[in-house]
């Protein structure tokens, strides 16, 4: 085994707790960033959709009583 110090269980727990806090903070930051980006891309999508030609209209044919 490499010559590095073995960590004690309490040290491992402390390190893992730090990592967990960091991970949660990172995940929340990314979530907020993702929401902002999604909103921006949706706004772009909406703007693009407005420029698209309208879908074909429902055909208007004289109604014949049967």
């Amino acid at each position: 085994m490499p010559e590095i110090r073995r960590l004690t269980p309490s040290e491992i727990s402390a390190i893992s707790l730090e990592v967990r806090e960091d991970y949660q903070a990172a995940a929340e930051e990314v979530r907020q960033l993702g929401l902002r980006l999604d909103e921006q891309s949706r706004a772009k999508g909406r703007a693009a959709a407005e420029r698209l030609p309208a879908p074909p209209p429902v055909p208007r044919v004289r109604q014949v009583p049967r």
Binding site: S16, A27, R62, R66
Partner: protein, 381 residues
């Protein structure tokens, strides 16, 4: 009826038949054609007004039955009462003949009008139906495309968020290390770089990420166990360096150290193998979707070290070699196992996700190995 009276009546009726001999059949035919053409013309010109007058389908059917019945009755009367030979040869009175033909043509016109009206209605209806079906097909295709595009976009967004989270989580591990170094001060010895802490932090960060992947859909249910183990090449062996299952850092099987048969499976030269050793030697990712099934196959490298105790808690496992460009075999290896059945199936999406994790991890672990080597050299010096 006498022929002279018939001629007068025909003139009054506007039919030009008096100039021709009474015995000719053609004036009557001409009159019939004129009347028919006028009838057809009127029906076609005013068909859109005539059609609605026909009413609904049941009414039209009654109407048809009535017309056909009347026509049948008239035909019967005509067959019975009319001297057809004299009519056709033109020997019958002109007025009688013309009236008979006019009556027949009028009735024919009525039936023709009805047929035209029905055909026109059917044509309009089928045209409308075709247009509606075409529109419905277009609409369904558009909707399918929209749903597929949305799903694809959601997948891309999910992947983007996952990659960003992995990067951010590992960057924060690096930031913690920078903070430790800052507080240690510039005069601190090399050993203050503490690679052992960083190894553990990186393994724990890997666990946080994969645990969320495994349990992301399990908000209220009991969560699955996830274990991340970092194996390193030490001499001619693969040895457990760090391990984390969310609660303990010594969560690996003790048999790796105590049982000679299991120990041999981690020896690069013994000829025995196990999943981690196979990944270390070949540099290939090994996906074990169903551990129990794989353990029975001699062609697969996965084995239980102690089936009795491991079978319930190890249902699926993956072994990922830590490869950085330029490295050669044997490689250090990360194994991730879980009690979630068939979790590590290795489809494209999962391979992409774990690929992002392992790329981040590999570079940072290699850095810590370099730090560790520097500490050793510094101490030896």
């Amino acid at each position: 009826m006498n022929p002279q009276g018939g001629q007068q009546s025909a003139v009054v009726a506007g039919v030009v038949a008096t100039a021709t001999p009474p015995h000719s059949f053609f004036p009557q035919l001409f009159a019939a054609l004129v009347i028919s053409l006028i009838g057809f013309g009127l029906v076609i010109r005013y068909r859109e007004r005539i059609v609605p007058l026909l009413g609904t389908r049941p009414r039209r059917m009654f109407w048809e039955v009535g017309v056909i019945g009347s026509l049948g009755a008239l035909m019967a009367i005509m067959l019975e009462a009319v001297d057809w030979k004299s009519v056709l040869l033109g020997t019958k009175g002109v007025l009688d003949t013309v009236l008979l033909w006019a009556m027949a043509v009028d009735l024919g016109g009525i039936v023709t009008a009805q047929v035209l009206a029905v055909a026109h209605a059917d044509f309009i209806e089928s045209k409308k139906k075709d247009a509606e079906e075409r529109w419905a097909r277009e609409r369904a295709r558009w909707e399918r495309d929209r749903v597929a595009a949305e799903a694809e976009l959601d997948g891309v967004r999910e992947q983007r968020d996952f990659a960003a989270t992995v990067n951010e989580a590992f960057l924060r591990v690096v930031s913690r290390k920078r903070e430790r170094l800052r507080t240690a001060g510039s005069e601190a010895p090399f050993v203050a770089l503490k690679p052992e802490v960083q190894y553990q932090a990186l393994v724990s960060a890997c666990w946080e990420i994969v645990e969320k992947l495994v349990n992301e859909s399990r908000q209220r249910e009991a969560k699955h166990r996830v274990r991340v183990t970092y194996f390193r090449i030490v001499g001619n062996r693969l040895a457990v360096s760090h391990c984390w299952d969310g609660t303990a850092g010594d969560c690996f099987s003790r048999l790796i150290e105590t049982d000679p048969l299991v120990r041999a499976r981690f020896d690069l030269d013994s000829g025995e193998t196990c999943l981690a050793l196979a990944a270390a030697k070949t540099g290939t990712i090994y996906w074990v979707k169903d551990a129990a099934s794989d353990a029975k196959k001699s062609t697969r490298p996965f084995v239980y070290f102690d089936e009795q105790t491991e079978r319930d808690e190890l249902k699926s496992i993956v072994a990922l070699p830590i490869k950085v460009s330029g490295d050669g075999a044997p490689y250090d290896v990360i194994t991730i196992d879980t009690d979630c059945e068939e979790y590590f199936h290795g489809d494209t999406s999962q391979a992409d996700q774990l690929g992002i994790v392992i790329r981040n991890l590999a570079h940072r672990l290699q850095l810590e190995k370099a730090v560790e080597a520097a500490i050793r050299e510094n101490r030896d010096a």
